[in-house]
Amino acid sequence: MPYTADRPDPAPSAEELRRRIPGWGADLDPADRPSYPKERDDVVTGAHWVLPERQQEREPRERSIEHGMLTPVFGTAQPLHGPAGAIRRYAYERYSEARAAHWLLLMLGDRVDSALSGLQAVPSRGPAALVGGTGLIKQLRSGRMLQPRDPRRADNAHVWMDPLVLAAPWLAGAWITWRVVRGVRRRR
């Protein structure tokens, strides 16, 4: 049959839907929904200022070069520091958010941060500083890890990669160290 102007899958009647589903159609009127229209000036915000006061900048705060100034309020968690901080600061100062380089450098900063802070914590926390925090041991104890996985799940195809993501920086580090040591030995 050719396609016609009618809906091929007509909905049940409003009465039936109302009976079956609590609250069906309570927001039926598209013009009476909290997010319609998208932009509206009657949303009560509780603000009692025209210009927000400025938060004090205690140490130089990185910002996107797409902003005309440092925003009046900003997060102060984990200020930039060390080699990862230098990479991140360069990403912010040099590239706009439109550039892949901006985000790829920030990702590089993340990997450097993760590797260095892991190594720095080894003296105090031992090897756990490198791999601890996965929740695996607790899960094994509680037996939850040992529950059979549903064999039909689509992520079964790649869960085996998770430990690799976890171990990748250490494998890379070990490989580089080995190459360096071998290189130095050969030169002697």
């Binding site: 809906r7 091929p8 899958d9 909905a11 049940p12 589903i21 609590p22 609250g23 069906w24 159609g25 309570a26 039926l28 598209p30 929904r33 909290p34 997010s35 319609y36 998208k38 932009e39 949303v43 915000t45 509780g46 603000a47 009692h48 200022w49 927000p52 006061e53 938060q55 990185e62 910002r63 996107s64 797409e66 902003h67 440092l70 009046p72 309020v73 900003f74 997060g75 102060t76 968690a77 984990q78 958010e97 985000w103 920030l106 941060d113 993760s114 791999v131 601890g132 925090g133 996965t134 929740g135 899960q139 939850r144 549903d150 039909r152 799940r153 689509a154 992520d155 998770d162 976890l166």
Partner: protein, 382 residues
């Protein structure tokens, strides 16, 4: 204070950390009573979001008691119990004054491409989050709302993001009476979007996932028809067939950057980070929508390019709408719905654990084992 900290991909712990302090006259410090882990936190946990710093405290879904307020705070006072929206908003910038509360321009120094979100990396502003005993809440006169006496704490918690986001997503889809709505993803956000589609008058609601226990939840919580996409050779062809070969009026992407369904896309997007996330769900949405239909994107994606089938979206005349949800704006209406008995957001919670067990919580949420849909955390002092 005790707080969740990020140690690197797949690694989180609870550590001692200095208490947050008032840094701006409109700040408040809130003592957290309940917090939750969001699907969005998994993108951070898996190391996918640029500028996620070691030591960062995640958590943008929390309720608690106001402990201290800055000199200009008027709308809340110490002792008040408040629910806090996941987005930080100044209330008066170009965007806030037009109701785009999740797109505030005065609070995220790090990026103009995103508003600010508690505990969601420096790309979202560099604020520590609420999976902790205490949290700094900027613009305390704008975001937080005093929890009404009659409201269940866990319902309040689910409105700080997950449920309110799903409700917003259904509105982005512009659902009209009798529409067929397909929701991709049966996580908390997808469950809420499916449930909300009925409030807007949907005639049919279909949820797609590959995790069976979540699909069972979708049938129960959201009264939805469900399909496990691993059980069909081609889920798009199936969705076409079940809609008389036209496609759905509205498709909602409640999956985001770590979508499964194509190993190649998943590995390049979510593991190797060669694209801004795996676009499988987004592409299914484009394919499964009817011509002239609407796509609502709630799923989070990274800030670089993804391999999206944009040509089909053009040829089909689709309307694509997306945003981080301005959840604060949804609250008055959602409170009415809860009060009227239309919805019960807390029914999507599957696990309640102490904050100290954070690593296990993330692992459960990430693997979706033990029938996990939503994890709620209680800090030691609460």
């Amino acid at each position: 204070m005790r707080a969740m900290v990020y140690r690197g991909p797949y690694r989180v712990a609870v550590e001692d950390k200095p208490d947050p302090v008032i840094e701006h006259p409109n700040d408040a410090i809130v003592r957290v009573e309940l917090a939750a882990i969001c699907g969005s936190d998994l993108h951070l946990y898996h190391g996918l979001l640029p500028d996620t710093r070691i030591g960062h405290t995640f958590g943008h879904e929390f309720i608690g008691r106001v402990e201290q307020v800055g000199s200009s705070v008027q709308n809340v006072k110490p002792g008040d119990r408040v629910m806090v929206p996941f987005h930080i908003s100044c209330g008066t910038c170009f965007f806030c004054s037009r109701g785009l509360l999740s797109n505030c321009h005065n609070v995220n120094a790090n990026a103009t491409a995103a508003g600010a979100i508690y505990g969601y990396s420096h790309t979202a502003g560099g604020y520590d989050g609420g999976q902790a005993e205490l949290v700094r809440v900027p613009f305390a006169d704008v975001g937080p709302m005093i929890i009404p006496d009659w409201l269940h704490d866990e319902d309040a918690l689910m409105l700080t993001d997950a449920f309110a986001t799903g409700y917003f997503g259904a509105q982005l889809g512009d659902v009209a009476e009798g529409d067929t709505v397909v929701v991709l993803g049966a996580g908390p956000v997808g469950l809420a979007a499916a449930r909300s589609a009925w409030l807007l008058g949907a005639g049919r609601v279909i949820v797609v996932d590959h995790v069976d226990h979540r699909l069972r939840k979708a049938a129960e919580f959201a009264y939805a028809e469900t399909y496990n996409f691993t059980q069909y050779p081609d889920i798009v062809a199936l969705l076409k067939e079940t809609t008389g070969h036209l496609g759905a009026d509205v498709v909602i992407d409640a999956v985001g950057a770590e979508a499964d369904g194509s190993l190649l896309q998943h590995i390049t997007g979510a593991k190797l980070k060669l694209q801004g996330g795996s676009p499988v769900a987004l592409n299914w949405a484009i394919d499964a929508a009817r011509k002239g239909g609407n796509i609502s994107v709630l799923g989070a994606y990274g800030p670089i390019f993804s391999a999206v089938k944009f040509g089909d979206a053009v040829n089909k005349g689709l309307t694509i709408r997306a945003n981080q949800a301005p959840v604060r704006r949804q609250w008055p209406r959602l409170l009415e719905h809860i009060r009227a008995g239309h919805i019960s957001p807390r029914d999507m919670i599957s696990h309640r654990i102490p904050l100290e067990d954070i690593a296990e919580g993330y692992h459960l949420m990430s693997t979706k084992l033990d029938d996990c849909t939503k994890v709620v955390l209680t800090p030691p002092a609460a």
